[in-house]
Amino acid sequence: MEKSAKQVKETMKNDGKKVKIYTTSTCPWCMKTKEFFKENNVKYEEVNVGTSEDARNEMFQKSGQLGVPVVDANGTIIVGFDKDALKKALGI
């Protein structure tokens, strides 16, 4: 069966690397980070720390701080929108 466009796109992403982003609904740097992921075809999971206490606790546990965004790129924790750090962690 021919692969759908979506399936083809999935295979391009991340090479098995897990990317999770902790955000709030208003944060401009979170939006810039997600745009960066889209531009670079990075598949990510998003959790909102403004609406989930569990997500807030998890973010604090991983990063030791409460600023957003926080990206967990396969175990590498990146605080803020740091293009160079993201590129390095994701091998872009």
Partner: protein, 320 residues
């Protein structure tokens, strides 16, 4: 060789880029944060032509308008400006140099710090400078905004959407927000304005737990809370300009005239980095457009001798 290099891609820089494009100037816009500070503003209600839009929407509109013309863009960070003969050489963190006949300097500002114990230690752990960025992290918690200007009131109004209680701590005897925003704060049951008060210290363990005040409030100098949002103004990012002898005032803001000219020929400035008293997106874009017209006139009226051949771009390492 560019006719102008615009340094800074906030409202003023984007407006300048748009007009430089219209005037057919060979233009390079350099900015590592396209859109600039306005993107950190929730709601903009004072930009003529738009009754209400978000800061990001305004930035996107200005960017699209600039990109409708033939300009070049770089998301690098400028590390140095040099002046040789009557040309400018701009170096970036990407190890590139660019030459230009003129500079339009629109780097904006950075947040001013409180400089109290605990501020650095608890940065991002309860000390924040942008409610739109981090405010929603404090859902149903107690927060304070420090500062008495309009930005402080707007930050408090935004925070009241998330927090259970918002104090505004004002050093002077009254709040100096725009009347419309002061009224909104007055009507907001979550917001309490406390005047004639100074924050002395920020305390906590892993995160902020309280602040020490210089006078008693409800019988104690200590106010329990979860976060402090600092909104006490901005410092001009003018160092790169000062390095080429551009004159600044005692606040470090670049002194410009009505044509956005500085004391250095060919060096123009616009936006929040300048000594304009009322700093708004609308005043910044106006200065940006004035700066471009001045640069356009200057380019047409002068002969230029520039130091490094005719290349637009020279790798520093190779050039040495």
């Amino acid at each position: 060789m560019y006719d102008t290099i615009i340094i800074g891609a906030g409202c003023a820089g984007l407006a300048a880029a748009m007009y430089a494009g219209r005037l057919n100037m060979k233009t390079l816009l350099i900015g590592d944060n396209i859109g600039g500070t306005i993107t950190l503003t929730d709601v903009v209600e004072n930009y003529p032509g738009f009754i209400k839009l978000t800061g990001q929407e305004l930035a996107d509109n200005l960017r699209n308008h600039a990109e409708a013309y033939n300009i070049e863009k770089s998301e690098a960070k400028v590390t140095k400006i040099k002046r040789e003969h009557n040309c400018f050489i701009v170096e970036t963190n990407e190890s590139k140099t660019h030459q230009s006949r003129t500079i339009i300097f629109a780097t904006g500002t950075e947040w001013r710090k409180l400089n109290v114990p605990g501020e650095k230690e608890f940065a991002n752990k309860g000390v924040h400078y942008c409610a739109l960025c981090d405010g929603a992290v404090y859902q149903n918690r107690i927060v304070a905004v420090v500062g008495g200007g309009d930005s402080s009131v707007k930050e408090a109004l935004l925070l009241s959407q998330f927090a259970s209680k918002v104090y505004i701590l004002v050093r002077r005897e009254k709040l100096r927000g725009e009347p419309i925003n002061n009224q909104r704060a007055d009507n907001n049951k979550k917001i309490q304005v406390i005047t004639n008060i100074n924050l002395k210290q920020i305390k906590g363990d892993k995160v902020v737990k309280s602040v020490q005040l210089d006078r008693e409030l409800n019988g104690s100098n200590e106010l329990k809370l979860d976060a402090v949002f600092v909104a006490i103004g901005h410092n001009a990012l003018s160092q790169l300009a000062k390095d080429v002898d551009v004159k600044v005032n005692d606040k470090g803001e670049i002194i410009i005239n009505r044509e956005s000219k500085t004391n250095i020929p060919g060096f123009f400035a616009a936006g929040d980095v300048c000594d304009t008293v009322f700093k708004q997106a609308i005043t910044g874009v106006a200065e940006g457009v004035s700066a471009v017209y001045s640069a356009y006139t200057y380019v047409n009226e002068n002969e230029f001798i520039c130091p490094i051949g005719n290349d637009d771009m020279v790798n520093i390492k190779n050039a040495k």
